[in-house]
Chain length 305, copies 4
Amino acid sequence: MSDGVKDVHAMAPEHGHLALQRVGVEGVRKPVLVQRPGRVVTLSASFSISVDLPPGRKGSDLSRNAELLADSVDWPDAEPVSSLESLCAAIAREELVRHPYAQRSEVRARAEYFLPRAVDGRRKSLEQYLLLAEGCGRRGEGKITVRRTVGAEAVGMTACPCAMETCRELLRAEYPLLGDPRLADLPVISHNQRNRTRLVLELGEDAEVEADAMIAAIEAAQSSPTYAILKRGDEAKVVLDAHRRPKFVEDVVRDLLGSLPNRFPGLPDDVVANAETVSEESIHKYNVEAAHATTFEELRRAANG
Amino acid sequence: MSDGVKDVHAMAPEHGHLALQRVGVEGVRKPVLVQRPGRVVTLSASFSISVDLPPGRKGSDLSRNAELLADSVDWPDAEPVSSLESLCAAIAREELVRHPYAQRSEVRARAEYFLPRAVDGRRKSLEQYLLLAEGCGRRGEGKITVRRTVGAEAVGMTACPCAMETCRELLRAEYPLLGDPRLADLPVISHNQRNRTRLVLELGEDAEVEADAMIAAIEAAQSSPTYAILKRGDEAKVVLDAHRRPKFVEDVVRDLLGSLPNRFPGLPDDVVANAETVSEESIHKYNVEAAHATTFEELRRAANG
Amino acid sequence: MSDGVKDVHAMAPEHGHLALQRVGVEGVRKPVLVQRPGRVVTLSASFSISVDLPPGRKGSDLSRNAELLADSVDWPDAEPVSSLESLCAAIAREELVRHPYAQRSEVRARAEYFLPRAVDGRRKSLEQYLLLAEGCGRRGEGKITVRRTVGAEAVGMTACPCAMETCRELLRAEYPLLGDPRLADLPVISHNQRNRTRLVLELGEDAEVEADAMIAAIEAAQSSPTYAILKRGDEAKVVLDAHRRPKFVEDVVRDLLGSLPNRFPGLPDDVVANAETVSEESIHKYNVEAAHATTFEELRRAANG
Amino acid sequence: MSDGVKDVHAMAPEHGHLALQRVGVEGVRKPVLVQRPGRVVTLSASFSISVDLPPGRKGSDLSRNAELLADSVDWPDAEPVSSLESLCAAIAREELVRHPYAQRSEVRARAEYFLPRAVDGRRKSLEQYLLLAEGCGRRGEGKITVRRTVGAEAVGMTACPCAMETCRELLRAEYPLLGDPRLADLPVISHNQRNRTRLVLELGEDAEVEADAMIAAIEAAQSSPTYAILKRGDEAKVVLDAHRRPKFVEDVVRDLLGSLPNRFPGLPDDVVANAETVSEESIHKYNVEAAHATTFEELRRAANG
């Protein structure tokens, strides 16, 4: 490029008085090598990377975002990263170096993830999950700080506790024997369905958390996990488990959030937990959902309350 | 336009020896007024419109496709059409008039559609469905012929017949009373889930069919239809109905195809029926599916076989 | 239903100390009749409807959400609504009546929308847009208040101002004649692409705004609107217009927000405007985006600044 | 499982006279290790696996599909496969062993894929592509035969040759200097956009092809490839390249198919090539597309014609 070319990005904008909160790239897909205990896994990840823009500057140097991401993950040179969120945090920090005019940076990633699962520890299959990660940089008082967020989503199963009771009533009218006390706790028919539940933890600058443990917490809060391989006996066992733990979406969110203080005792009080769940109702064409966000401090108080 | 501009489309292509089977537009969205018995409904439809291209011609005049569609449906001038497939057929015919170099035309449409439904005829809600339509034109022996295809898709529910029997066995071990003959036909727990089933009928030039009747046929072949509004008693009834009619995806396709000769006695033998069903399994993260295509002649032979 | 059936929703939850911010239904699709000046249009809309849930209650009566929506829009009884946002606001208010235990309600809708457009007022075609609407109810001090939000999204086109200048440089090296002053303002090649821009206005309780005017504001901020029908001369005109108004995503957001005080002089200072734009870059496989949210007060100050 | 449980799948179906062409699973996601020259890459792949079902049998043993896939790819035991299509072919063959009642099997996979690319060989970035593969098994005359299909999709860029000429005309009226012979071949403004092009080769039982070579063929047929990293000079070069090779969708398909005989001289005459291209037009809200399928024999004849 000759020096004579105008640097259009650095020019003053026409509507120059307006800063912009976010300018960046989205949907940049990259393979990312992640070091897991005892193995390196490759995640197909999607990234969005942005910074803010001060009022006096026409454009953000967007090619720096893609270049920085390539510097960070493109093989063959790339070292495995320790986690998706540490990668996002590192990029968020470096973004503020490469965009000296920016005060804030935001790096988000999502990636499919696989873990082995089995009913009763027998035939394991790889089950798919979703990982979410975020790094948010801030420039201030001469230094850059970066907050990290980690999320995970698991598809499992819910069985409806309400329909189970109304079905019991309906069946009892037809089968009086169901009123026998020996059948009092018999799980009866209900509607059950796919449930997608997401847990996102806003960790701050220092806290760390293991995504596998978050996925385990989510699966424990659903009526049952689901499995790629279910031989006939396993299938019945999963169905029975789910009907023995029928759950509203409300229950899934409360049970998940309620379990966090015990599962993550080391996380500080100011970590924010966001739980969201969606049940793809088998009896409706639409979904039902529940969501709540709160701090670990609040969760600990509720657990003791 | 000055006459001096090159008509690039009509030029000879560089790789001129190659005809192309399909050149067109896709994803053109339009509101379409359709005359239904006693009312006019507006469908938000998506169209793809294409013709073939002979070897000697560089480009197809694609603006004619969008223009023809606008002539056909853009209000305020538009008259309601009698059906989505008659609209596709009319456009497919006119395509061959406006593209004199083409031998074949293909017009496809899909649109969301709503019908009122109720459990027990009580509280009706509008349920959503999908309509599919196609018109395929052919130029030959001095005239244009157009074949029509009509399709519909409905989301309902399936309950698994296999898991029901293995669960019965599992429960019996724990609740011996379930072995009592009075409970022999008790519907027991199983996995149930959303099921999407599609029926597409290739009608030929003359046959006609009512989409509402196709949707009714699909819903009758699922374990149960599903409903937007289910007060508590209704919900139990839907769950019970579904567990009284447990179905594999195989059953859904066979029952749907098997019902067609009785439901559509007037359709000629050479009409082709395509049935496809997908169950979004509650116990797996993946779907199971079944599909079959055959003629009404074959279906009638099977029904009598 | 016999009275003996447990009202499972009203029971105390196991993790009873946790309130939930949001419990509801999502993805409920309905046709909605909307009264527009001189005509009634039918929108295929998708709704999510939720309320909060107090700590002592196990479940939200979700069937009331679907029932309320059906009461509001299901034909044949339904009157056309005045706007999607007034419908959302009315449902948000009624939600708090039907869920007496709830303090907050949230109703969101999105729908495809069509408006006639033409280059130079000649051949009009219906172009597709997206409408967004929201009603948020709050119960407090003995009364219910509802804030409304209106949004619109339009797909148009951006041409890159930076690539145009670097291409000019590159071409000048090869075609010295381009340096002639008579060609100083010649628009030269650049990359151009689809751009999706969304404007969302948080109106509060009383302010009103016309979606068509929001769509006009968006299209004016892009390099050019796009059209379904472009005869050959029109196509060149659209391309030329876009290259005469090259825009970064930063420009689109700034120009859109900067235009609002003049376009909507009647809106109060506390209305919040959110602008988001995404360019599906022709030279990359990923998108670039920009976003900013601010108040009309701020925008008016910036305009005078 | 006790032996007393009914094998529901093996039972006779109610509508027993109907065979089914396809029963299986879809959307099963798995990481797949693939051996590439000098390295092992991990693909996040999605599989569908199905067999046909004879008339006398109620259900297909669907758990065998997921189990077979797990046997083939689930780490830590899995060896890298030589290609996605060889994996599909191996599964298609084994499907007919594990489903002894089936005559045909079909295994399809799709996976995101990355290759390094650079403008002028300088700064390389990993670009994303799509791989498609298929294995179709047939049982006949005492043996199983498997045909393989390989596909690839690349996103690149097209610039419109027609709009370039009409824009030239429009500009000439305003800038007479453009009529100067020294500017006769100046590339002028046009609309350009993302183009997705897919090539699928039906190979039969023995032929083999390298996906990387198919991707190279696709990118050569577009106006230009696209890149994640484009420093300012590169960006101008890509735009200029694209405008020097303006292409209709018709040109992309013809150029791609026309290039195959030279690029794949070893492929037999009966290999079928399917080419499909979609341009996400910057001047329209809809896409334009072209497609053609033919044999290598036909392509060789056309090349010599």
